[in-house]
């Protein structure tokens, strides 16, 4: 990213020196992790371009949208419904949380034993290096895990535009009602923010737009079932990550374009994408940009990732909203029907997640499951033990990993992952 965006970044209040440093690291990490991959799927150029302009052109676009009266909403979680944001004339973006930054500052306000994802979000805020945070008119927090909900209390002192959404922890009737009430409250908040009334037509149109995006991602997920995989797990993860930043309609078209090309490559038996090593799926905590540590180790060790049971992956994107409703209430119910199915580990009990892991494992022809837990992420680490046991009881080889964003355990992780892949061969 070049000089041309410097005044824009300065205008957003970013710390330019720190931001330069971050961009340098991100650029070389991307080149090392992504551009060096052998046989990349054709059509990844668009996503490479989006990544190269992730703090540049895309921010410029968002600022232009703001000039035209749209509002930008930033979120950290797939429970924030994009349908409602779009219907109210807003644009939803995911906020940065995939790398360690300004950790000394972060540890002044958060305990050391906080998961890397939460610490990262604070690092980007305190280090003044996330243009998405600064461009956002409203930041939506959500009461998922204890770490996040308490951290939002502190984040609220660092920013004046935080809105916190409550979430159920049990998938009961009461839980459903709570989510419905919270989505209505959020819709009202969005209307107040943008001054745009959410009408049946607007909401239905927004549902259609988000459904189309999820359908495209689902198409990509299905193509990955092909043997050999038509795309590397790293590239498929990147597409799922870009879903949180890009303009939804352009993104949908780009995903469909790359799927067209993959279908063609498969039909012509043209070798591209993933390797022929052991196929695995990853299950667990979300991987936000630029957290490519685990998939990079898996794929440079000869494994091929064919699915992610993750919020940045199938857990976050599967299931569509039924757009058939004739009234606002019916459409809002349909939205809740879809979102309540997200089987995040904050729910208790959470049997659907295990069922989904198994389904994904069988559907993709994987030979093993790598459970990815972020250190101090209580919900997923707690679930990892019964999940591992249940999968192994069903004869599914499982490797349980607990790590963070630092590079200090890469040697140990590499040995464990390589040994796991040796078993699967």
């Amino acid at each position: 990213m070049t000089e041309k965006y410097r005044s824009m970044w300065a205008g957003l209040g970013l710390d330019l020196d720190a931001h330069d440093m971050l961009m340098d690291v991100l650029g070389s990490l991307y080149a090392e992790t992504y551009l060096k991959q052998p046989h990349r799927a054709e059509g990844m150029e668009y996503f490479d371009f989006v990544m190269s302009e992730v703090h540049g052109l895309r921010i410029e676009e968002l600022l232009k949208e703001k000039e035209q009266g749209r509002k930008v909403v930033g979120s950290f979680c797939v429970f924030v419904p994009e349908e409602i944001v779009l219907a109210a004339g807003g644009t939803l973006v995911g906020l940065c949380s995939g790398a360690d930054f300004a950790m000394e500052e972060v540890e002044k306000v958060l305990p050391r034993n906080t998961c890397a994802l939460i610490k990262s979000a604070f690092g980007f805020k305190l280090g003044k290096v996330c243009p998405y945070l600064e461009v956002s008119d409203m930041i939506v927090g959500e009461n998922t895990c204890d770490g996040k909900k308490k951290a939002y209390e502190t984040l609220g002192t660092l920013t004046d535009n935080l809105y916190v959404m409550d979430l159920p922890q049990v998938k009961s009737e009461e839980g459903y009602d709570l989510l419905l009430a919270e989505y209505h409250r959020f819709a009202a908040q969005m209307e107040a923010l943008t001054g745009v009334e959410i009408t049946v037509d607007r909401l239905r149109e927004a549902i259609g737009m988000v459904n189309a995006k999820r359908r495209a991602l689902h198409r990509l997920a299905v193509l990955r079932e092909t043997v050999p995989a038509p795309i590397s797990g790293l590239d498929a993860l990147l597409i799922n990550q870009v879903a949180f930043y890009d303009n939804p309609e352009r993104f949908t078209k780009s995903v469909n374009d790359i799927c067209d090309r993959m279908e063609q490559a498969i039909a012509e038996e043209h070798r591209s994408g993933g390797g022929e090593g052991p196929r695995v799926i990853i299950s667990g905590c979300p991987m936000a940009v630029p957290n490519w540590k685990l998939p990079a180790i898996v794929e440079t060790s000869g494994g091929v990732i064919v699915g992610e049971e993750s919020c940045v992956g199938e857990r976050g994107q599967r299931n569509l909203v039924d757009a058939a409703g004739a009234t606002l209430d019916e459409l809002m119910d349909a939205i809740v029907d879809r979102y309540i199915q997200v089987d995040c580990a904050i729910f208790t009990p959470n049997p659907d997640r295990l069922a989904h892991i198994e389904e994904l494992y069988h559907r993709t022809g994987a030979r093993g499951v790598i459970h990815y837990g972020l250190q101090f992420c209580q919900p997923y680490i707690m679930e990892s033990i019964p999940v591992e046991k249940a999968l192994e009881d069903r004869g599914i080889p499982t490797l349980r990993i607990e790590t963070d964003y630092s590079a200090e355990d890469v040697g140990q992780l590499t040995t464990r992952i390589q040994a796991f892949l040796e078993i699967l061969k």
Binding site: E392, P397, E402, T403, E408, D409, G411, Q412, L413, T415, R416, Q418, A419, E422, I423
Partner: protein, 244 residues
């Protein structure tokens, strides 16, 4: 034809050369220039058929274009070759501890490995020995002969050092502390063994298996006979040679 297995660990390098029934074993410290150490062990001759394993395997993979396997696979192969009835391997090495559960055919059923820090490894014992003023050999012997034992609560090498120091200053018998340190390491290994749902026969390999106190304490904790191979440090190199 000769088959060579090279195990580059964090503390030492082992080489096993198999030629028919003949087994050659060579060993040296890893030091600061492991590549040169390997050259020295091989008398400068680059082997035709070799497999490299251990912490430093990637170095030879890159430098000499030799195929590599993880220590986990190499240990499993080495142990299965020595005794096909073995079902569980405990390997406590210089900087990591591994537990490997084997199926009847010698295939790896499941494994566990310590993450990131040196807690419960050979390095931990070494640090605690020096903290108590024992040589590594005398440390095991002291633990064997101790009449009592004290509980060591910290498994972090840094915290354990202060814990041990404070016990020493309180006048606690250093033999009892030595036994406590051994029990703490064994306890950690037992937790890992339980995680893979271990079964007998249990083979204890790696450098720490040469420590008789560790063997004795493990046998008492697990209530089984622990099998220690004749050359516990060479199991990885042997496995690699067999896989070459």
């Amino acid at each position: 034809m000769e088959r060579t297995g090279i195990d580059i660990g964090s503390r030492s390098i082992e080489v096993v050369i198999l030629n028919g029934d003949r087994v050659q074993r060579r060993q040296c410290d890893t030091g600061h220039d492991p590549l040169n150490q390997v050259r020295r062990l091989l008398n400068g001759v680059r082997p035709d058929r070799a497999m490299v394993t251990g912490y430093g395997r990637q170095m030879l993979e890159v430098e000499w274009d030799l195929p590599a396997v993880t220590e986990i696979k190499a240990y499993a192969r080495g142990v299965h070759y020595m005794d096909g009835s073995s079902r569980t391997i405990l390997d406590i090495g210089g900087q990591d501890t591994k537990v490997i559960a084997l199926g009847p055919d010698g295939r790896i059923r499941k494994f566990e490995m310590n993450d990131r820090c040196a807690a419960g490894t050979g390095k931990f014992l070494e640090l605690m020995a020096s903290c108590l003023g024992f040589s590594l050999e005398a440390f095991g012997a002291a633990a064997m002969t101790a009449e009592t034992s004290v509980q060591i609560n910290s498994m972090c090498a840094v915290f354990a050092e202060s814990e041990v120091t404070s016990l020493v200053t309180r006048g606690v018998d250093r033999h009892a502390i030595a036994r406590g340190v051994h029990k703490a390491v064994a306890g950690r290994a037992v937790t890992m063994l339980n995680r893979v749902r271990w079964t007998e026969p249990l083979v204890f390999a790696g450098g720490v298996a040469r420590n008789p106190a560790m063997v004795q304490i493990l046998e008492r904790m697990l209530d089984v006979r622990v099998q220690v191979p004749e050359y516990p440090q060479f199991v990885g190199a042997l496995g690699a040679a067999l896989l070459a």
